[in-house]
């Protein structure tokens, strides 16, 4: 199979829609095919990284457990956009472990394929 670097950007919040789960599933399939993507959380997507999340009331499975398991598939660290965090009044100490600050423009520039969720 051709080899390309893949960036998966999550820009939707974790509850109220299936975007985060579907983005993470895509990243996991990449890892299963031997191409672990870089995973970046931007915009409302940074809300998925908040620590101590429970499942929502909508019968969705929730994304926190999935996120915590990603390192088993070589998808680490969980990159976040600092500006998105600040815009939402959040600080890095509120995030789950394994998060790291990213520069979005650099990240998009250095990957062959960008998938946005």
């Amino acid at each position: 199979m051709d080899s390309k670097s893949i960036l998966v950007i999550v820009r939707h919040p974790p509850h109220g829609s299936s975007w985060v789960r579907e983005g993470l599933e895509t990243a996991l399939v990449g890892a299963a095919l031997g191409q672990p993507p870089t995973l970046l959380f931007s915009g409302d997507g940074v809300l998925a990284l908040l620590a101590h999340q429970q499942r929502g009331a909508l019968g969705q499975k929730g994304s926190a457990a999935m996120l915590e398991g990603l390192s088993l598939y070589d998808i680490e660290p969980l990159w976040y956009d600092q500006r998105s965090l600040e815009d939402r009044g959040l600080a890095v100490d509120q995030l789950m472990s394994g998060c790291q600050q990213a520069c979005i423009a650099d990240m998009i520039a250095k990957h062959d394929v960008v998938m946005s969720f």
Partner: protein, 135 residues
């Protein structure tokens, strides 16, 4: 202008008629040959799977998106790939899935094909460009 044409893969995540994503994806795909390129694969994910609904019946004075996708398949020989996990839970089943789940009629037909996320990865890795059309 590029002398050697590129192959494009598109990911469509928006529902037809309620979001712009599928309209934009079609317009983009239909414009590629004029620039010497072609769309090789379209992957429908999230609410984008509704683009494959075989009974889609829009009013006559609106674009018929299902027919536009079929025409795209005819003119550019592109694969129309539908994520099975997104589709089945939304009620879009091909003949095999319909039979397997005890339904009398399929709601998704060729040229659309049921596939998995692995096909999205293959398309992203194999073709020259991947463009996401999301709401």
């Amino acid at each position: 202008m590029v002398s050697q044409g590129l192959t494009y893969a598109l990911m469509v995540q928006g529902s037809p008629y309620s979001q712009q994503a599928s309209h934009s994806a079609l317009r983009f795909a239909e414009a590629l040959p004029a620039q010497g390129h072609r769309v090789a694969a379209v992957f429908f994910y999230h609410d984008g799977v509704y683009n494959a609904a075989s009974m889609m019946t829009p009013p006559r004075d609106e674009p018929h998106l299902l027919e536009r996708w079929r025409a795209l398949y005819q003119t550019q020989q592109c694969e129309l790939l539908v994520c099975v996990a997104s589709a089945v839970r939304r009620g879009l089943l091909d003949e095999g899935e319909a039979r397997r789940h005890g339904h009398s009629h399929p709601t998704l037909e060729a040229p659309f094909e049921m596939t998995g996320l692995g096909q999205l990865m293959q398309a992203a890795l194999h073709h020259d460009r991947l463009i996401t059309f999301a709401p």
